[in-house]
């Protein structure tokens, strides 16, 4: 197949996805679980990709993602609350000091820029650290930002520890998909460029990369800033999805959630991160919900099912993945049309071979019996 033909098919697939989303939205009711999962999944996909750029492609083990999301979410919320609503939102702070609003798209981009700005400041001291130390430093930063945002002295801007609300949210599911899609496309373009190769070189061997003329600090800083930029945008989208923002929600547990998505998807695979984020959100919000609810079969109460059990199951899944599927879903492979076609072509054969294996085993077992 020629490259041009492949591009056309890929574009058609993408268009089909948007049509399907549109139809789903028209037919399903607003409270549908599927729509919720798709919305949140798209946002998490963007954030997971931004984390993968740093952790998977540049080899910097950073745990500051929640901090940058928080910055993005707050920036977006602060600058888009309508002026009329400010008196109500900032009721303890005389309506706050910012008395203007920005258009939604401008505010989203600004959210990314603010996160990137902070990243460039923190990057200077922090990126000289290696592996675990970097993780601890970035984690610490995220916690400091969270505490700082709740500081009452900043109340006129951040509303202290109170909720930010009444800012515009998205009305259609296509919006988060479009924004996340564009951002992920940019990340993919970066990874496939010469800079992306330099990032991977740093991941593979720092000493050799530096000996080949790659300025370590500059490139680490670049990756860190760009990753934070997209985390900021992801934060803004998350704020829109939740329709309220409070700093307390952006705990380090959120970073771990995203790290988990990156690991499940495959460290160093954008496709993996996207697949894993939908899978993760679907299981945590939807498929595994029943684990948290007490259930009865007749009058018999099913043991273990109670609030919090879902998290236990999750921990077990994580352990199984880390022990047996360290590669995650995709390893370092990426989506391509050829691979997809091959997968579907081989699917019947695969299913057959599984069936055959079972039959073979049965036959062997029955022979043994005789």
């Amino acid at each position: 197949m020629s490259k041009k033909k492949k591009n056309i098919i890929n574009i058609c697939l993408l268009a089909a996805l948007f049509v399907v989303l549109f139809v789903l939205e028209q037919t399903l009711s607003g409270g549908s679980m599927l729509l919720t999962v798709l919305k949140k999944g798209a946002i998490y996909a963007l954030i997971a990709c931004s984390m993968n750029l740093l952790n998977g492609f540049t080899g910097l083990f950073s745990l500051g993602q929640a901090g940058f999301m928080l910055l993005g979410a707050y920036t977006y919320a602060i600058f888009t609350i309508p002026v009329e609503a400010r008196a109500d939102v900032y009721q303890y702070f005389d309506g706050g000091i910012i008395q203007f609003t920005l258009p939604v798209i401008v505010a989203i981009i600004l959210a990314g820029i603010v996160a990137a700005l902070f990243a460039s400041l923190i990057g200077m001291p922090v990126l000289r650290l290696k592996s675990d130390y970097l993780a601890i430093a970035t984690l610490g930063f995220a916690e400091i930002i969270r505490a700082f945002m709740m500081f009452e002295g900043l109340g006129p801007i951040t509303n202290g520890s109170n909720l930010l609300k009444k800012f515009p949210t998205f009305s259609t599911i296509l919006f988060p998909f479009a924004v996340a899609g564009v951002c992920i496309a940019l990340i993919v373009m970066l990874i496939n460029s010469s800079y992306g190769r330099a990032f991977k070189a740093i991941r593979d061997d720092e000493v050799a990369a530096e000996a080949m003329g790659v300025n370590l600090f500059k490139h680490k800083q670049t990756a860190f800033v760009i990753s934070s930029f997209f985390a900021g945008i992801g934060g803004a989208l998350l704020a829109m999805y939740q329709s309220t923002v409070q700093a307390n929600a952006f705990k380090s547990a959120m970073t771990y959630e995203i790290l988990l998505i990156v690991v499940i998807g495959g460290i160093g695979s954008i496709t993996g991160s996207i697949l894993a984020s939908f899978l993760y959100i679907a299981s945590s919000e939807w498929w595994l919900r029943f684990l948290d609810e007490t259930a009865f079969i007749g009058s018999f109460q099913v043991p273990l099912l109670r609030s919090g059990f879902r998290m236990v199951v999750f921990s077990i899944i994580i352990m199984v993945i880390v022990l047996f599927y360290r590669q995650g879903i995709m390893g370092t492979r990426e989506y391509s049309l050829d691979a997809l076609l091959r997968f579907f072509k081989n699917l019947p054969a695969k299913i057959k071979s599984i069936g055959k294996k079972k039959k073979g085993e049965d036959a062997a077992a029955s022979e043994e019996v005789q």
């Binding site: 010469s194 800079y195 991941r203 990369a209 530096e210 000996a211």
Partner: protein
């Protein structure tokens, strides 16, 4: 008199109490092939690491094409510990990082092969081309560097072809056989367009026939790319067959310098390699 490309003056490298390179002075002239030899643990690779900026020498000066790249004098903790000589000779501290030194025109290979293991052969060579990229990050992100990228790929393929790796260009570097990995290291170093090429044991693990081929290759590299070659090597056939001059070091100190014939007959070198003859 030929112009000298690389000049080391009284370079001393001390780790704690261990003096790995002791008062080493040497000159490499343009277009020469120079070998640095010595018994195991003599400090050859340490000397290379000093030249490329991986280590900061404790004392001494290293200049490239007349420009000082690295200069240091014992300071801080080393002031008390310093066990070398010429402690007061240098006063400035100049330290260029390895990437800057590579940009100035020195590229190297590694003794224990250090390829980018998860990347393909072509990508490995492309990383070395990265420092010449003019497109900015933001423009690359918007996909505006396609033309430059295509030119880069073409150039990288030329180095790959020169080293005879064109049929494995899309293989993952870690899957290559040992000999080809060594060749890839050289291809990658060449792609950095150096004026001085440092080879750290390029013939390690090669059989006599491969070594002979390598000898031919190193000559071709020098002639075709107008390079100066400075190498560390243990294979005496290779060293004696190709070098214009040889420096011999033992316990970090230079014990001899000269043409291959001179070195072969130098009693100090023979003693270092074979041990002193016992006097009856």
């Amino acid at each position: 008199m030929a112009k000298n490309v690389l000049k080391l003056e009284n370079v001393t490298m001390q780790f704690g109490g261990v003096v790995a390179v002791n008062d080493l002075s040497l000159e490499v002239n343009e277009g020469e092939i120079i070998a640095l030899i010595g018994p195991n643990g003599a400090g050859k690779t340490t000397a290379f690491n000093c030249i490329t900026g991986v280590y900061e020498p404790t004392n001494g000066r290293i200049s490239f094409n007349g420009e000082t790249m690295l200069e240091n004098c014992p300071h801080g903790k080393m002031k008390k510990l310093y066990a070398g000589t010429n402690a007061g000779k240098f006063t400035k501290v100049i330290r260029k990082t390895p990437d800057v030194i590579t940009k100035m025109g020195i590229a190297r290979t590694f003794q224990n092969i250090r390829l980018f293991k998860t990347m393909t052969v072509l990508e490995n060579v492309l990383v070395a081309c990265h420092m010449f990229v003019k497109t900015g990050v933001v423009f690359s992100m918007l996909g505006l560097g396609k033309k430059e990228e295509a030119a880069m790929r073409q150039q990288a393929m030329e180095y790959i072809r020169f080293m005879g790796l064109e049929d494995v260009a899309d293989e993952i570097a870690a899957n290559l056989p040992y000999g080809k990995q060594r060749h890839l290291e050289i291809a990658r170093a060449l792609a950095a367009r150096p004026k001085l090429l440092l080879l750290d044991e390029p013939a390690a693990g090669m059989n006599p026939q491969e070594t002979a081929e390598l000898m031919e290759l190193i000559r071709r590299i020098r002639d075709e790319f107008n390079l100066t070659v400075f190498m560390i090597e243990h294979h005496m056939d290779l060293v004696m067959g190709i070098s214009d001059r040889i420096y011999v070091i033992d316990f970090g100190k230079q014990i001899a310098e000269g043409t291959p014939v001179e070195i072969q007959n130098n009693p100090a070198v023979i003693a270092a390699y074979l041990g002193e003859e016992e006097e009856a």
